[in-house]
């Protein structure tokens, strides 16, 4: 029997920004419940299959941290309390994550709590980690990898290029990205899931988060074929122009650096090439040339 190990990297958004205005309303999920749900999901993932491996990365507004596995902390925790009837590995996971989380949250700087999170940083680190695991794979082993991003904050448009670079890498090394967002729809995450053929979901009711996680994200590609998945919404791949950051249907692209502008410009602000105005094709000019061939 060939055993194929399945690795799942969970990237958790721990930015306090989202939770700060949730404190007042008691009806919705709070931060503690959110963490509990994620730990429960992680436990379920480990218990689901003996070949499942888990990596958890937490990220705040300016920091990322590998919460699990943590070889330095793991050795400290000896599951002596086996009285509790708990699966040993789960106990270790819980304690390590708990310890690391505590430390991570204590270290959080209350300064510059911007609304964005370091999802991109966590994602690139996850890819480096996966790349290492791929390298360490022995011949004959067939391991699979998957990334799940649980996001609570809005996209930051500044990260577009870095994020897309990470997504293209993921596509290249065949690692699907699943996305689960608690806030407004994220167009970046949507594109990431679509390009890497992962599942994207905006959780309609945060109270049901555990249900959604267990239902959609516990299984891998093979099992998903048999599930009723959310219908794929057509992804909006329109770009935002570099000058005003608004979505456009038609635009002008610099022939040197492929920067996108919504209107004619005399110079490119990215690569500083000056455009020959007489030659600037307005479509009609260009097409007549082409027809001539």
């Amino acid at each position: 029997m060939s055993s194929s190990v399945k690795h799942l990297v969970v990237i958790i958004d721990l930015n306090p920004y989202y939770w700060s205005d949730k404190i007042a309303s008691s009806t919705t999920l709070n931060f503690k419940q959110y963490l509990n749900i994620i730990i429960q999901f992680c436990n379920a993932y480990i218990a689901f299959d003996i070949n499942h491996r888990l990596i958890i990365i937490g990220c705040s507004n300016n920091e990322t941290h590998f919460l699990y596995p943590d070889p330095t902390n793991e050795s400290i925790i000896i599951p002596t309390v086996t009285k509790t009837n708990m699966f040993e590995q789960l106990f270790v996971v819980d304690r390590v994550v708990e310890n690391n989380l505590k430390q991570f949250i204590e270290d959080l700087s209350p300064m510059n709590t911007s609304s964005g999170s370091m999802i991109t940083m966590a994602l690139t680190q996850a890819l480096c980690y996966i790349n290492r695991l791929i390298r360490e794979t022995l011949a004959g082993e067939k391991n699979s990898f998957r990334i799940l991003i649980i996001q609570t904050t809005n996209d930051t448009s500044k990260q577009y290029m870095n994020f897309m670079n990470a997504v293209f890498t993921s596509e290249k090394i065949n690692v699907p990205i699943d996305g689960c967002i608690l806030n407004n729809d994220s167009s970046l995450l949507q594109q990431a899931c679509d390009l890497t053929s992962g599942i994207y979901l905006r959780v309609p009711d945060p109270n049901g988060l555990l249900q959604y996680l267990l239902w959609l994200y516990l299984t891998d590609k093979e099992v998903r074929k048999m599930l009723a998945l959310p219908t794929k919404v057509a992804v909006d791949y329109r770009p935002a122009c570099f000058c005003h950051h608004k979505l456009i249907d038609t635009g002008y692209v610099c022939s040197v650096c492929l920067s996108i502008y919504c209107d004619n410009a005399s110079t490119c602000s990215t690569c500083r090439s000056a455009f020959d105005i007489t030659n600037t094709s307005n479509g009609a000019n260009d097409s007549s040339k082409r027809q001539a061939r």
Partner: protein
């Protein structure tokens, strides 16, 4: 085999190439070989040009189908091997040059034949290449005729795009109807760059063609080298001096689809598009027959509403180039390359593990570690390669981008 290296190997000095390799205590040369490989890989990545590139390329691949391609010095023979590698090349080419075009020309029996017109869809080119495998290789190749055929189309291509021809030749002769030097001159005047990959040996006229038109000339040593050379050609070449820049109008169509009502979790999806009808897409319309291309969803040209099933493409009605944002984003890393990391010693590092893969540094395994000059984080060698060769984003530097 550098292009401007006029000296041949046998004319240069005597080199003791084996002295670089040293055995370690156990007599293994693995460590040195690894170190050499590592150095080479880093050097290769450092050489990636950081100048203005010709991002929009129009390239004709000229494949030799003369007698010489039957030779079996490449397995199973030159033609099969070339076709297999060219198929790979086409995908690489579109990966690095998402909105460029490619066309295929073959030459045999002193004639040339255009297999495919300049177009942007890798799959159709690959399918056509596949069919070439079963064609007879015979007669002699004609470089002049091939140049003429390429010239006819390429000279009408817009000035802001780079015009190139890539010859894959097994022959050692060319049979031409006129003076090839004249044709080379015309190519030069039209700024068409010609590069040659020769499968057998150096031929003076091929080399002259490359030098005059500022292309690259290479002779392969084996199939791995062949593959590496094609990889070089798949990356955009540095732009020529007289390169014009221009703004090109493009359309970014949105995919529209018919939504069915089964298993709809997200109740927010609207049902306004429910009455859309199936229709034929423009790209399959020309290839009559079959039911391919008859579907409900598709990309609709923002100016004239013609439907296409795949991007990127050029609208056949209004000649607008249709692309999606990720197509453009795929090549942004060429424009904003990240700086090389510098080698650092282990004791200098404050952190004991690689910032990327979290591997704990140890003296045995990590002889060299690398530091990003920007964010000052430390990385292991493998992550350095992965970051510069595949991700094109330094994990540590992301923080600075965000807080700016």
């Amino acid at each position: 085999m550098d292009d401007n290296d006029d000296q041949y190997r046998w004319e240069s000095g005597y080199e003791r190439t084996w002295e670089v390799i040293q055995e370690d205590e156990s007599g293994s040369i693995r460590a040195t070989v690894n170190a050499i490989n590592q150095k080479n890989r880093r050097k290769e990545l450092a050489q990636l040009p950081n100048v203005r590139l010709g991002m929009m390329r129009h390239l004709y691949v000229v494949l030799d189908l003369s007698d010489a391609m039957k030779d079996q010095d490449l397995r199973p023979n030159r033609l099969f091997c070339s076709i297999e590698l060219l198929k790979e090349f086409i995908f690489l080419y579109f990966d690095s040059n998402p909105i460029s075009q490619i066309g295929i020309i073959i030459t045999r029996k002193k004639r040339v034949e255009k297999i495919s017109e300049l177009a942007g869809n890798p799959r159709s080119h690959v399918a056509l290449l596949e069919q070439l495998k079963y064609q007879e290789c015979e007669g002699e190749a004609s470089i002049q005729n091939a140049l003429d055929m390429g010239l006819q189309t390429l000279k009408h291509m817009p000035k802001y795009s780079s015009r190139e021809m890539l010859f894959v030749l097994g022959c050692l002769t060319t049979c031409d109807p006129g003076n090839i030097l004249q044709t080379i001159k015309t190519c030069k005047e039209n700024e068409i760059r010609c590069s040659v990959i020769s499968l057998s040996a150096e031929v003076r006229i091929f080399r002259k063609l490359c030098i005059d038109t500022k292309g690259l000339f290479h002779v392969i040593t084996d199939s791995t080298h062949f593959q590496e050379l094609l990889q070089i050609h798949s990356r955009p070449l540095p732009a020529l001096d007289k390169f014009e820049s221009s703004l090109v109008r493009m359309g970014f169509p949105k995919y529209r689809t018919y939504t069915t009502s089964n298993a709809n979790i997200s109740s927010t999806t609207t049902s306004s598009t429910k009455h859309e009808k199936a229709s034929m897409c423009m790209c399959h319309l020309e290839q009559r027959g079959g039911t391919n291309g008859f579907s409900i969803g598709g990309y609709f040209c923002p100016t004239c509403e013609s439907k296409y099933c795949e991007l990127p493409t050029e609208c056949s009605v209004c000649h607008l180039t249709l692309v999606s944002a990720p197509h453009l984003a795929r090549s942004y890393h060429f424009l904003f390359p990240i700086e090389q990391f510098i080698e650092a010693s282990m004791d200098k590092s404050e952190s004991n593990k690689c910032f990327g893969c979290q591997h704990i540094f140890d003296e045995q395994k990590h002889k060299n570690i690398f530091q990003c000059t920007n964010c000052k984080n430390f990385f292991c060698f493998e992550c350095d390669l992965f970051i510069h060769g595949t991700i094109f984003t330094c994990p540590g530097c992301i923080r600075y981008g965000q807080l700016k």
